[in-house]
């Protein structure tokens, strides 16, 4: 699969607050913009990939709303990692001739819906009757265990949020335009110990879309193709009691598959976009993706490694913690990776970036999908 399929169009719309658009309206506007970015029309799209927290059958909702009649559709839902999974599934479908131009799209009005959102998620009979906060409390259980096993501290977790804000200050689209300090994170209300409010991602609206096609077609389109070099998936739990090891996730497996397909190692990645729903989930994933050894994530982030100027150009748009988290972040990890590889990232541009990793995780670190992208030079 390496290098056979490329991203040819991207878009983001209303990444903080929807300007009068419904979730499917955000999907439609993002799709229109991404298709235009690719030099195509929506009617060229014959493969549709989407996931939603509000629509039970989002591919049908979107097809009807836009008049699209795809010959291939995939609405795999594995939480926030759905869209990384969609990229791999789309690449496989394109290679098999099941579709030529694949659209991955998402939209959410989670911020505008606040308090009114009715999730499609089922109740977990063995955990939710207790009145825990999903997904914060399971993530907090992971955090306490990581602290117990490796000596990770709340200050180190706070550094993750502080680094994210430093990146966000270089993103004109990011909502909060002031620096953040470790003390401010620690002084924010405790929600589910040891996680404070500012250990948690933003609650925003937003839509995004991505267009993929085979490499030979991509070279005829206006934007420089961004090639899919590697892909891997893995998944193992829905309930936190079913997570085999609270401090090591299946991201180890999804990343290994993606690195092997790409022929790259973590040291070869120029910029990474890793799902940061919570400070702790990012810390665990940095370890599992091989950017730092297991248990050493705390000192790593406290050293400034993931802040601008550090050793890893991570979540350069500010991520879910300081840019945008509309229910599911996965697609925004990919759009930022593509923006960096196109050299379109403005003040936050990583110099001469040729490889980028996007890692999506779903629910409470239960689902994982890793995508490695590269420019022509990385082929």
């Amino acid at each position: 699969m390496r290098g056979e399929v490329a991203v040819v169009g991207i878009s983001e719309i209303d990444p903080f607050e929807s300007r009068g658009r419904s979730p499917v309206g955000l999907m439609a506007e993002a799709s229109r913009l991404a298709v235009a970015d690719a030099g195509l029309r929506l009617s060229d799209i014959d493969g549709l990939f989407t996931a939603s927290s509000v629509y039970y059958t989002p591919s049908l909702t979107f097809a009807e709303y836009t008049g699209l009649n795809p010959r291939y559709s995939d609405s795999t839902v594995v939480g926030g990692s759905s869209f990384e999974a969609h990229v791999g599934h789309a690449a496989a479908a394109i290679r098999s001739g099941l579709c030529d131009y694949a659209l991955v799209t998402y939209g959410s009005t989670q911020r505008s819906d606040r308090g009114k959102l009715v999730s499609q998620a089922e109740w977990l009979p063995y955990e939710q009757p207790y009145g825990m906060i999903h997904p914060i409390s399971p993530m907090a259980l992971i955090a306490h265990r990581h602290m117990h096993e490796f000596g990770t501290t709340s200050e180190q977790l706070a550094e993750v949020a502080v680094s994210a804000r430093k990146w966000a200050l270089r993103n004109p689209q990011a909502p909060y335009r002031v620096p953040l300090t470790v003390d401010q994170v620690l002084a924010s209300p405790m929600i589910s110990s040891p996680l404070h409010k500012l250990d948690c991602c933003l609650v925003t609206d937003g839509g995004a879309a991505l267009v993929l096609c085979a490499t030979d077609r991509a070279r005829d389109l206006p934007r420089p193709p961004v090639y899919v070099l590697g892909f891997g998936e893995s998944a193992d739990h829905r309930n936190i009691s079913g997570m085999p090891d609270l401090t090591t996730t299946r991201a180890v497996d999804s990343a290994q598959r993606a690195y092997r397909m790409a022929g790259l190692t973590p040291a070869d990645i120029d910029t990474a976009n890793v799902y940061d729903a919570f400070t702790i989930s990012l810390l665990v994933l940095l370890e599992d993706l091989g950017f730092v050894a297991k248990g050493e994530g705390g000192p790593f982030v406290a050293s400034g490694a993931i802040a601008p100027g550090g050793s890893l150009a991570l979540n350069t748009n500010g991520g879910g913690l300081s840019y945008c988290h509309p229910g599911m972040l996965g697609l925004f990890l990919l759009t930022e990776a593509v923006r960096q590889l196109r050299g379109d990232a403005g003040e936050r541009q990583v110099t001469a970036a040729t490889t980028a990793l996007a890692h999506g995780m779903g629910l409470t670190l239960g689902a994982h999908a890793t995508v490695i992208l590269g420019t022509e030079r990385a082929l």
Binding site: W123, P125, Q128, G131, L141, I142, R145, I191, S193, I240
Partner: protein, 140 residues
């Protein structure tokens, strides 16, 4: 006051909560491969076998991890904050989710020995909870 969230129980899920009403915390053992699993399933997670025995656990274990909620996860629990959720490793070898009671937040810790208790939260729902072994810990 809003009522505690009550799950819609289907099939084998019902058996777990029926036994909880009888003051039993149950888990399954596979008679084919001897694997254990917490909540009842129709297949063994290790060998896919279907000869599974639903057994009452001793209820004894230690805290694997915990989190104290300072904001209620459901409106019915607003008056209860702060309250603590735990993962408990039972001596039978299964990991169970539940609530920790009779322990002030500052005394909750990984490794704390606990035993099971039961709370009738509605007329239809009894939940296993965990208490410190050796009696309640005072809030001081």
């Amino acid at each position: 006051m809003t009522q505690r969230p009550t799950p819609v129980l289907r099939g084998e899920e019902r058996a777990y909560f029926d036994r909880a009403r009888e003051r039993e915390l149950v888990y399954q053992r596979c008679r084919t491969c001897d694997a254990t699993q917490w909540y009842p399933r129709v297949v063994c997670i290790r060998c896919s076998g279907t000869d599974l025995e639903l057994t009452a656990a001793s209820g004894n274990g230690t805290i694997h991890s915990f989190t104290t909620l300072y904001r209620a996860g459901h409106p019915s629990r607003a008056a209860d904050v702060p309250y603590t959720m735990v993962l408990v490793d039972l001596v039978e070898g299964v990991r169970v989710f539940g609530e920790l009671v009779d322990v002030p937040p500052a005394a909750a810790r990984i490794g704390l020995p606990v035993e099971v208790g039961f709370q009738d939260v509605t007329d239809d729902l009894t939940l296993p909870v965990f208490r410190p072994k050796g009696g309640a810990i005072d809030a001081r």
